[in-house]
Symmetry: C2
């Protein structure tokens, strides 16, 4: 099944540098991902203003995509996802809603780490009463800041604080956490289930593929 993945951060040479598509292709056999990005947002989405600017760009880009069976919007704020699902004939999967749904299935209460001054609306809404606590990673203003060694450590610390507050599950509420591959590191350090937003979105797309292509589609 062909997936179009929309990055909300402008990337040069996107096929070479994107890590979200390869992550999905590695773990979900049969999904093929083609990566796209919106224009003129090198710092991605990191606050209400940048989200507002990105939303129409995501919608415009998604409407131009051809030959895909589903679209994944790679941002935990799910910009444009609701609108696109009303307009497009193919499913549009948001990383934020996927993250919230897998997280609440893994635990009755969930702690979320973020790069923004609040939990993205869609994640808050979909977790509902299951959102126990959340924590912004110190020293981080955009997803790109996560890529420094110091902030990787700060993200581990944020998760640790949530576990100390009693979170039995950690939700990574920014797809920048997928870029730096921190989910397994948090799990190794703290021993709790950690939900990665790109793997969550990949799981939802995979469910779609498995029923669409039939159960004999993969080799036994």
């Amino acid at each position: 099944m062909e997936i179009a993945l929309i990055r909300v951060r402008t990337l040069d040479n996107i096929e070479a540098v994107d890590r979200h598509g390869p992550l999905i292709e590695k773990f979900f056999p049969g999904l093929r991902v083609k990566c796209y990005c919106i224009e003129d947002q090198p710092y991605g989405i990191h606050d209400a203003r940048s989200e507002e600017i990105a939303r129409p760009k995501v919608i415009k880009l998604a409407k131009k995509i051809e030959g895909s069976d589903a679209i994944i919007v790679s941002c935990a704020a799910d910009p444009g996802v609701e609108e696109l699902n009303e307009e497009l004939p193919i499913p549009v999967i948001g990383a934020g809603k996927s993250l919230a749904c897998i997280s609440r299935t893994l635990g009755d209460s969930v702690g979320a780490i973020t790069i923004t001054d609040d939990v993205p609306d869609i994640v808050r809404r979909e977790l509902g009463k299951h959102l126990l606590a959340w924590k912004k990673v110190e020293g981080v203003k955009t997803g790109i800041d996560l890529e420094s060694e110091a902030n990787f450590k700060n993200a581990l610390n944020a998760a640790e604080e949530l576990v100390r507050l009693g979170s039995p599950v950690i939700a990574l509420a920014c797809t920048g956490f997928s870029t730096i591959g921190i989910a397994p590191e948090i799990c190794k350090k703290l021993g709790v289930p950690v939900v990665d937003p790109i793997l969550a979105a990949g799981s939802v797309a995979y469910n779609l593929m498995l029923t669409r292509e039939g159960w004999n589609s993969l080799k036994d």
Copy 2:
């Protein structure tokens, strides 16, 4: 990762006849499933009374299981799942909650087909306002009845009626639908996403495995 899967229907020669474990192993590389079943319920769970009888048996069985990293309870009513998650140190994943969560991520409103006179409580609760409509399969009293050709057709008809009512996504609210492998057939006939409860539960377990075993755990 080792998964214990608990069937709520008593099966002789379970390793040979179970179809839920093999379905998960086929589509989620790295998950190994060992199948168990509760005693003295050859007709499984099919109403409030049989659910009430099964719940303590599921709990008792789950507590005796050793050497597993997670447990999947293979029933859309999630009998005992909440209690077990409070008591056991390993995650216990219910097919019902998994089904509801993947379904609501795939569409804002969901139609559910059932074998019971209502939608299982956990599915109703987790879908919330996203449950658009539901339909019991005609001619079916227990999950076993799904295995006749006539009732396979009745199940297709129930899904068709929900699509006619405007359901953009069909949730299969009984793991008996997984046994007969009807998800891809509904999808082929009606062209809408269909969510299978066993694949949904497998997806949740797979997310657990991917962060626990690290992203280098599978071959590139």
